[in-house]
């Protein structure tokens, strides 16, 4: 067993794992397609219209338009993160699916890469289903907001990679609750989602930009949906790309260490 982190050797067989998850997802599409619609609606009604009657505008933008990209960003984060924590953990530990897969020409690198790609795809599916709802309410600009779809894939891959690292080191399914409420829940609130980061102390603003991945996702999405494009998007994209590569490589290495003994 080598203690070092190595560049994983992934083959095109990873897509077979991805396809397995996709097929199962579409088998129960009625269950899976419903939540994005409902979630978008609930956010728009409760926070947008409810809270929006008091807040009205932020930086000259109607409040409901301000939070629309946050709804998308949170969906990207949640769908990819929970798919690759609880979903992957169940497939790995309870269903022993990974064991069954690596008895075939698939390697463990292929299996985990397939799971990560699937996590990213879930984020894409979620956003694709939410966009029509947001568009119907007229709170996002078109066609620029369609670029949220590729952003969802990249952001989804990032959260899938981070999630898979937790899955690789968690002693049990219960301890996955820690990253959920210590990492995900704070991000929902403090990543420039429902209020601009500028209202917070400078130190917290820096913290959000340096450490919280959702900050960058929401920032990019907001530039697309308002629209208010700026070169800052490139910095956020670069931040996301680096973090994605680091965590996906780390996740595959950690999973290899957990499963190949």
């Amino acid at each position: 067993m080598t203690g070092r982190v190595s560049i994983p050797r992934i083959t095109r067989r990873a897509w077979k794992v991805w396809y397995r998850n996709l097929e199962v997802f579409f088998k129960t599409w009625k269950v899976n397609f419903f939540p994005p619609f409902i979630e978008a609606l609930l956010y728009l009604l409760a926070i947008g219209l409810g809270l929006g009657t008091y807040v009205r505008e932020i930086d000259g933008v109607p409040y409901v338009n301000f939070i629309a990209p946050a709804i998308l960003g949170i969906a990207v984060m949640n769908s990819a993160f929970f798919e690759c924590t609880y979903g992957s953990y169940v497939r790995m530990y309870y269903q022993k699916s990974f064991d069954a897969m690596i008895a075939t020409p698939l390697s463990i690198e292929d299996v985990i890469a397939g799971e990560l790609l699937w996590g990213a795809t879930r984020a894409v599916l979620y956003v694709v289903l939410m966009l029509p709802v947001l568009a119907a309410f007229g709170v996002i600009s078109l066609p620029l907001s369609l670029l949220a779809i590729p952003v969802a894939f990249l952001g989804g891959l990032m959260f899938a990679g981070i999630a898979m690292c937790f899955t690789a080191i968690t002693p049990s399914i219960d301890t996955l609750n820690y990253p959920s409420f210590l990492f995900i829940t704070p991000m929902v609130l403090f990543s420039g989602t429902f209020f601009p980061l500028t209202v917070m102390p400078a130190l917290l603003q820096d913290f959000a930009y340096v450490v919280l991945p959702l900050t960058h996702i929401v920032a990019i999405l907001r530039m697309l949906t308002l629209p208010a494009l700026s070169w800052v998007a490139a910095a956020s994209l670069a931040w996301i790309a680096i973090v994605t590569v680091v965590f996906c490589v780390l996740a595959i290495n950690l999973m290899k260490r957990r499963l190949i003994i």
Partner: protein, 312 residues
Amino acid sequence: MQDTVRPPDPRGNIIEAAGLKKAYGSTVAVDGIRFSVKKGEIFGFLGPNGAGKTTTMKMITCVSPRSGGTLSVFGIDPETDPAGIKARLGVIPQETNLDPDYTCYGNLISYSRYFDIPRQVAEERAAALLDFVQLAEKRDVTVEKLSGGMKRRLILARALINNPDLLILDEPTIGLDPQARHLIWEKLRSLQAQGNTIVMTTHYLDEAARLCDRLVIMDNGKILVEGTPADLVRRHVGEEVVEVETTDEVIACLDGMKIPYEHFGDMLQIATGSSREIARVLLERCQPKKVLTRPATLEDVFLKLTGRTLRE
């Protein structure tokens, strides 16, 4: 990954292992074993829990990297081309790991994709395999609704979806009722008749005696003996066994006649070439309470070599 076609092992062996070793930190699970598996035979690994059988299976199936020694499967080193080996393997794991999100048929089809089997071929094979393991009428049932025996049979069908050259079975009949075990045995026999090579581990010594052409008994990571079941019984125990209830009189009597015996629970066991003769002598001279004669079995060999201490 490249699919290199290599010449088969010159000795016609499917698996060749020498000095094969697996260590986890300071614990040695497999301690330098040598064995070879010939084409077309059923080869068994026997041994108490923790003997290193499953670890050996995992090294053969390219799931666990070896710590030392050499290993080749189909003439290929698992370190250089695991996918090439695994494409030709059928693996039955100890734990049931069918996909609960699919039906019986769906399990076979989704598994076939991992082997790059074209859809149409996979569909034909899946239907034929469900027939083979007598699950055709359960085709569209989700696996959670299957009994334990049905699940094991479906795993056997799944392991055959790629027409493997070598089947690796880790405790294939664990927890099954006698009917289900006999069905699995029958299927394994017919697979062997079709030219398959089969490697299996088992705790059931009657199963090993019945199925295996050759077997090894392992303990503490080492191979203790190797041979055909009948050979091993003859070599290590003898033809027959006489069991007699333990009493002080019987012990004194046997000691007096210098007949060697062993304590097995509340019975004394005497391995012999002629059980009738020993039984007659016992009945005439030792006033035994209970005497039983029977042919020697693999279980006698197993217990003699690995002892009676309980393993965890």
